[in-house]
Symmetry: C2
Subunit: 394 residues, 2 copies
């Protein structure tokens, strides 16, 4: 299998390359796209020798070439492109069978869309693809026959649980949520939450934005929207259940009353490999196992929409469709950055998002460039709203 | 669908008829076989008007006919046969598509075997069929193409979980066990357990023998043997995990590290209906649902083979194959009866079973009548051993 990896230096990208190593020679990364992480990228280039590399801009490109000159033992060099053009080339200019879409943010959207349009298998880890452009993407996938295999552990689990029945036999999709560090925090104390507190995630180690999104349950809201698009269900049929141990990743309730759940160790390599090899399940290493030889308690409880308003806003965005998901994502990214910069308080995040949705949540983009434009418009609006908020609370 | 129900007045039989009612006219019970429960059987006959009825003996037959004379509003009467001949006729003399095998004990074995030999779908709830005659039964099913659909909630769950992958991708089957009322009882107190204590089951309401078998984990041992035959795995790949809430019925661990679990409310109508309608899943009633709107804790722990030696003996019987399962079942039934009659103490049950296995566990019956003969031999041996035990402790 020939692979393009969009976002090779992030957590999903690094785990993907570990899966490539596990699959010993059966997967070849033809193209690696990264942003600015030269230290991580250069050893990847030297190990996997991709034909094509893409980085953020010419400055990064120069640093990569310099590092290669210092490290490489031979004259071999990959082609190195930059920016959107580079990302697109990783999909369009190499003859890959599958694309791992793990570039973070709207920047990864056009290349992923192109991969879908070309009917490639897409191992999907970029949430913007479905949150911001779900309708366009699913229409393109249907037209081209592209397979969208989710890498996110929850959607990957749903994909697995859906094998136990037919689509029309499904009543509900159930996504589990760790609940984040504030699962038990009273509403009165949430106003004073600091970035340091919010950056502590109980189960998974992740980047800053996704950790904050997990603490606000925004992340779970995005997953609700993604599940709706990916599997073709309305938000009223996607339920969130808090499950702090993060062992059960998702469940599917069938109309006969049976619930099929997928459980697994918290290791992203499992869903990544599944996404690459489905419908096969290949032998994983012994450490990637759940053990049942000790006491294990799995707790479940309903989420508190009052304390986690971003989850409620996500359901509303899923219900209204159109550009609401795009605006939700853009506004949240801006609001989280403002919170991390101590410009707005923790509860300012849902506040900024809600006001941004009020201002531009009713747009209905019908092309990818309209989605990108709406993303830009929503960011500008959110920044304005966050700045006003900062002044008001400052 | 035309149905024969072997064991219509027991718990599985009554639940099956409730499922028949739910399926409003799409399932017709052509034959009902029962033992001696006239009060339960007569209303079933009047409601479902089967062509054929079978009861234990002529005395029961006369009581059924008298009751029908008093209750029936018209001259219609079913044919009523008796004994083994009657049970066999319920499979052989009516043109049924499926047979619900829920007669308790070895008595149900020949008719179930005949149904399998004839290639019918068999909804299997009689544990003797696989525990005592697994090899013969599976050979016959393979030859005839009969589908064996397990009604037992654990095996039914395994059947569902196995849909999420291919057989060669399965590493382990995991059966959950409630752990019974003595899950936390120290070994030193188990000697003094009374029939009254053992008859209290924490989750399911069941008959006396199966309740005792659940308290000793013998029942789970039988399920291990059944799972081995039904799904073609060695006992080393069937694991038991104690799960007191009985919400997760079973799990399948795939070689990639994914675990697929089936969860459901403790209602036998769910697996019964699944067994009748597979590969379809039909709409169940709203009360047959797991709810996630309140806190729910699911606990798991390894079983203690030292305190539950019958589970260990079952693994050994599964390992040795041949007639060991038949002897295990026969000896356990005798030992449980002796315990309920206060002839032997609670820990005498595994004692009697182990000694009976030592005496005749190495037989290798190669026909159904040899299985039935071994069952008789093992019962006689177990009775002798239990009587000696009673004298020794008396």
């Amino acid at each position: 299998m020939r692979l393009s990896i969009l976002g090779s230096t992030g957590s999903i990208g690094r785990n993907t390359l570990q899966v490539v190593r596990e699959m010993a020679g059966r997967v070849r990364p033809l193209a690696l796209a990264a942003g600015r992480n030269v230290d991580e990228l250069v050893p990847q280039i030297l190990e996997f020798r991709p034909a094509l590399v893409s980085v953020e801009d010419d400055g990064v490109r120069r640093r990569v070439l310099e590092a290669l000159d210092q490290s490489a033992l031979d004259a071999w060099r990959p082609e190195i492109l930059t920016g959107q053009e580079g990302l697109l080339a990783c999909v369009a200019d190499v003859d890959c069978d599958a694309v791992v879409s793990a570039a973070v943010g709207v920047v990864g959207l056009p290349a992923t869309y192109e991969a879908i349009r070309r009917g490639k298998r897409v191992a999907l880890a970029n949430k913007e693809v479905l949150v911001a452009a779900g309708e366009l993407v699913m229409v393109a996938a249907t037209a081209s026959g592209a397979e969208l295999l989710p890498v996110d552990s929850e959607h990957n689990a749903l994909h697995q649980c859906l094998r136990a029945g037919r689509r029309e036999e499904v009543d509900r999709l159930i996504l589990t949520a760790s609940g984040g560090p504030f699962r038990r925090t009273p509403a009165s104390e949430m106003e004073a939450v600091t970035p340091e507190q919010a950056l502590r995630h109980p189960t998974w180690k992740m980047g800053a934005r996704i950790t904050i999104d997990s603490s606000t349950m925004m992340n779970k809201g995005f997953e609700v929207i993604e599940a709706c698009w990916l599997f073709g269900f309305g938000p009223e049929r996607v339920q969130v259940v808090v499950h702090p141990q993060s062992i059960v990743h998702a469940m599917v309730e069938y109309r006969d009353g049976s619930v099929i759940a997928q459980l697994g160790p918290p290791d992203m390599k499992l869903p990544i490999r599944y996404a690459l090899t489905d419908p096969d399940r290949e032998q994983g290493p012994p450490e990637r196992r759940l053990r049942w030889d000790a006491v294990r308690n799995l707790e479940f409880e309903p989420p508190d929409l009052a304390r986690f308003p971003l989850l409620r806003l996500a359901y509303e965005a899923a219900e209204s469709g159109g550009g609401a998901g795009c605006v939700l994502n853009a506004a949240d990214e801006v609001a989280v950055a403002a919170f991390l910069d101590r410009e707005i308080p923790y509860l300012g995040i849902p506040g900024v998002v809600e006001k941004t949705l009020e201002r531009c949540g009713d747009r209905r983009p019908s092309t990818l460039s309209e989605v990108v434009a709406l993303d830009r418009e929503a960011r500008a609006a959110a920044k304005e709203i966050a700045a006003a908020w900062a002044v008001a609370v400052g």
